[in-house]
């Protein structure tokens, strides 16, 4: 569970706050999508949830962030990593460099936490299986494709069994095949008892996965609701976020989209609407 209360944040040596008065409660197990234009503060918000702000990046935090009852600002990072994990955009930079095989790379966090070896073996095997990367266990993390590296980065977080996982545009630097690998893994997470915050500009994917979507613009939360409502809102175009192809098609279709029907954000909704109109 995530509780964010009037969160504000200013980077070190800058004057203007990048996040302002953010209020956000995410119940356990929810899959939350976050959208917003470039520079809105999405990455900053993710880092504040994961505790990298302020523990690694410094700066000035106001308000409160709680993950499962732990105050993020007051809790040392090594105590937070078993509660919240984060996957960021660049797969290469998330590989620690400390280890020479994928299995060891996955175990690295557990080693640092002093987890007994027997438990590590079980946890690593389980994550390899869930992400379907058993065949990569003995490979060097540096020999993998970007998509595979991103799965390793995801696995390195999952192995610590966090309550919350924050993903910051995890496929933005991947080719289509790599993106597909990562989204398949996220689909698997949906069915788990883990709270997920997915920042994503491929909003069709959010429409597919998210239970709820919030919109961040210029450091403020401007919208919060079910994906079908939020992602079809006309403001999204004005804010530079855009719409799904399905929403755009229905808008352009004018009278051919049934009047009174909500604008579609998924393929199924579009088919249902256009099918009914025919």
């Amino acid at each position: 569970m995530i509780t964010v209360d009037k969160l504000g944040y200013t980077y070190p040596e800058t004057a203007r706050p990048v996040l302002r008065e953010i209020d956000l409660n995410v119940p356990s197990g929810q899959f939350l999508g976050v959208v917003g234009p470039s520079g809105a503060g999405k990455t900053t918000l993710a880092q504040a949830l994961a505790g990298y702000i302020p523990h690694v990046l410094g700066g000035e935090v106001t308000g409160r962030v709680e993950i499962g009852g732990l105050h993020v600002v007051d809790t040392p990072l090594p105590d937070l990593v078993t509660r919240v994990g984060m996957v960021s955009q660049n797969p290469f930079n998330q590989i620690s460099g400390a280890k020479f095989t994928v299995a060891e790379e996955l175990a690295f966090g557990l080693e640092n936490l002093g987890v007994p070896r027997q438990d590590m073996l079980i946890a690593v095997r389980e994550v390899l299986r869930r992400l379907r990367i058993e065949h990569l266990a003995e490979r060097s993390p540096y020999e993998l494709s970007g998509g595979q590296q991103q799965l390793v980065a995801l696995g390195a977080m999952l192995v610590m069994n966090p309550d919350v996982l924050v993903l910051d545009e995890p496929t933005s630097q991947l080719d289509p095949a790599g993106s597909r690998l990562v989204f398949e893994a996220l689909g698997e997470l949906r069915s788990r008892d883990i709270t997920v915050v997915l920042i994503e500009h491929k909003i069709e994917r959010l429409a597919e996965f998210a239970d709820r979507v919030v919109v961040l613009v210029d450091g403020e939360l401007r919208m919060d609701g079910p994906p079908g409502t939020v992602l079809a809102a006309p403001e999204l175009v004005e804010w530079g976020i855009g719409h799904t192809r399905f929403t755009t098609a229905a808008v352009r279709a004018g009278g051919r989209w049934p009047s009174g029907a909500a604008l579609p954000v998924t393929l199924d909704q579009a088919l249902a609407g256009f099918g009914g109109a025919r």
Binding site: Q47, A50, Y52, H55, V56, L57, P76, L77, P78, V81, G85, M86, S88, N90, F92, N93, Q94, I95, S96, G97, A98, K99, F100, T101, A103, E104, A107, F108, G109, L110, E111, N112, L113, G114, V115, P116, R117, M120, L121, V124, S140, Y142, E143, A156, M157, M160
Partner: protein
Amino acid sequence: MATLDFYQAGRSRVHGWNPVTKLSLSLTLVVTAFALPVLWWPVALLVLVLLPAVLASGVQRRFLATMSRFLLPVILLLFVIQGLFYPGGGQVLLTLGPLSVHADGLLFAARTALRLVVLTGSFLFLLLTTHPGDLMTALVARGLPPKISYVVSATLQIIPAFRQRAQGILQAQRARGLRTDTGLVSRVRALVPLISPLILGALSEVDERSIAMEARAFGSTARRTSYTVIPDSTAQRLARWLMLLAALTAIALTTTGVVS
């Protein structure tokens, strides 16, 4: 991917030895070779210990190729300089105009060369037969600070990855019409657009990489455990004690003047 380490994978018994045993062997060879002022001692070490170990591990081709590449020029230079300019003098073996070759100089050169061969050969043997990850795991288990292990492991892996990226950028720029094949000036000019994305990328990545480490609880004060277990045996433990004893004996023999 091209790597920075020397490791040559293999299934020999020597490959399976605990890295600390191999490190102890290397250190013992080097310490005794430098401690004992006896010309035949390094020769004995090479013939009776190092070469059999190299052959047993099947890495002899890489071993000989690397040794000759690194050492031949150095040894040649050593003989020329010490043979001609050794300050002590001694018997003159040969006179070439104003220059003369002294026996003492050649002896000194031979002694130094043999020690260099043992030094380089011992560590090359260690690196050829030991995976760097296993070496680091074994050393951390014996108290090497994890930060040092991290610096070594990351350097070995990230530098080749960066080199690969540099090639990628270069190729992309060639594809956009940048000429890099002709002339020094155009080559240097080609470096400029190559370096800026590389450096800018590397700088912005420092934060991300330190986050990646923190996110894995690298700053934790917990007593670390190890996923990988490096095999060891009573025989190897015994061998390590004996090697330590041998090294100490060699030092004692020399410092007390028993051997001179």
